[in-house]
Symmetry: C2
DNA sequence: TTACCGCAATATCAAATGACATATGCGGCG
DNA sequence: CGCCGCATATGTCATTTGATATTGCGGTAA
């Protein structure tokens, strides 16, 4: 639970030229003109508390978001309640493209922690492409990049053992969080419950627990009070046959 | 290895304004100007025989393709040979975006049948965005649409039983093929072996066979000599908790 | 023809994973 | 202070799925 901000701190809608994300080495720089255009599209910020929906399955031509702070995830549910988490969203990720481009939103997005979002109107996308093709290109990049995440997760769920899957998810998240400068040595914040891990990996809750315990017993990880510590990253990686390379220079809209 | 075409057969390169795909109701129309621009990007056609690679994992900034005829699939393999098919490609699908935009191609593409491709140079993408933002928008649409396919497959592999998975894949492919006007009543061509089905659904070959036999015994499908017949589409759909809606008006680059 | 090869089909057995029951610990809240 | 709800942990057993081996069939090449 994040501390409640006093009203004075509350009002700080961040201008794009002071966006703390842009300062990170992970993100590519933009020209002042591009930045101003993005700033002009931004209509407001939005806060969503943990566990609340950001987008619902079935939403039509919804707003577009860039995640500024906090964690979220994309998921889809079946009629009987089974849920599959498709990928996790971290600061800098772009949200709502599919529902905006195609007919309706087929996947829901839920906040995992308290979250703040940069809000763009649903009809901003085409003007952006027309006025700034470079930014349209960046949107495409972000889409292709998210597809990469889903591809990787599908390989995992389809072809890796439970042990390998869990290892691969933890490595993956660890590296993404670290790329955002949020790591403290070999430990990062980790707000997922075992339920989220299970739903992301196509495992039952019980088996996820067993597998986490097993990895813990193997001294490959330490998970406690919302922090994940990966001791032997290299051996985890060879266990999972997975090497995530976090990219520098990803675009940020 | 590209097959050497005899000079006579070789010459049937199709101009975009006579492309048989564009005539289909599934595809959106383009302005003559857009069509001419696409025609100008096209450098040649390429044929790939069944089972041969179209793109290899690791290719850098490869060419871009639009699939004109035949079937292909995107896949990823692990070090020990396990293979996961991510999605199947049918005429009109755009190939190579990820490897072109991101650093390298992380997924391979293999021809399932003999295939012909419309070839665009690897550096054509940015000029396309700049000269014709509408076409850039279409590329983004195609990317988001393919992500939808991978999302759906991930839900399947993660949360559906083997029976549901097989049912859902067959419905999905049936509808896509039908949307291309290739159906003959309730039957469509079906060039996949059980091996492909297994690799797409995260199942073993043997279990895939068992499951197909079971569906056959339930009189839900008929699979023979490269043709798939779905008798009771509605009951299959409720079995799989899956309803694919094939979109009209998808863009074609 | 004959041998071979890929694909499908099937049996048997083993392993991975899921389902259910239950216990423990911890924080919020009346 | 005690109760309740949620997340984690663990045992037992059932089920699904995987591994291995074998057979048959149809195409094809020597």
């Amino acid at each position: 639970m994040r501390p409640v901000c006093p009203p004075t701190a509350m009002k700080s809608e961040i201008a794009c030229n002071q966006c703390p994300l842009r300062a990170l080495p992970a993100f590519a720089s933009v020209t002042p003109e591009q930045r101003d255009f993005i700033q002009g599209m931004k209509v407001r910020e939005r806060s969503v508390p943990a566990q609340a929906p950001v987008l619902r399955q079935g939403d039509k031509r919804s707003e577009l978001y860039t995640l500024l702070t906090g964690w979220a995830f994309r998921y889809q549910t079946l009629a009987d309640g089974r849920r599959q988490i498709l990928n996790f969203l971290l600061p800098g990720d772009f949200i709502g493209l599919q529902g905006n481009l195609l007919d309706v939103e087929r996947t829901g997005v839920e906040a995992l922690t308290d979250v703040t979002l940069c809000v763009f109107p649903g009809d901003a996308l085409w003007p952006l492409f027309r006025a700034h093709p470079e930014l349209g290109f960046d949107v495409t990049w972000l889409c292709a990049h998210e597809k990469l995440l889903v591809d990787d997760n599908l390989v995992s769920v389809g072809r890796r053992s439970a042990l390998e899957r869990v290892a691969m998810l933890l490595i993956h998240l660890f590296k993404r969080v670290r790329a955002l400068g949020l790591a403290d040595g070999d430990s990062v914040p980790f707000p997922l419950t075992q339920h989220h891990v299970a739903d992301a990996l196509g495992l039952s809750l019980v088996h996820t627990n067993r597998t986490l315990r097993r990895l813990h017993a193997m001294k490959m990880l330490h998970l406690e009070r919302g922090r994940l510590t990966l001791g032997a990253l290299a051996s985890l990686q060879s266990l999972a046959d997975y090497e995530a390379r976090e990219l520098e220079d990803r675009p940020l809209i």
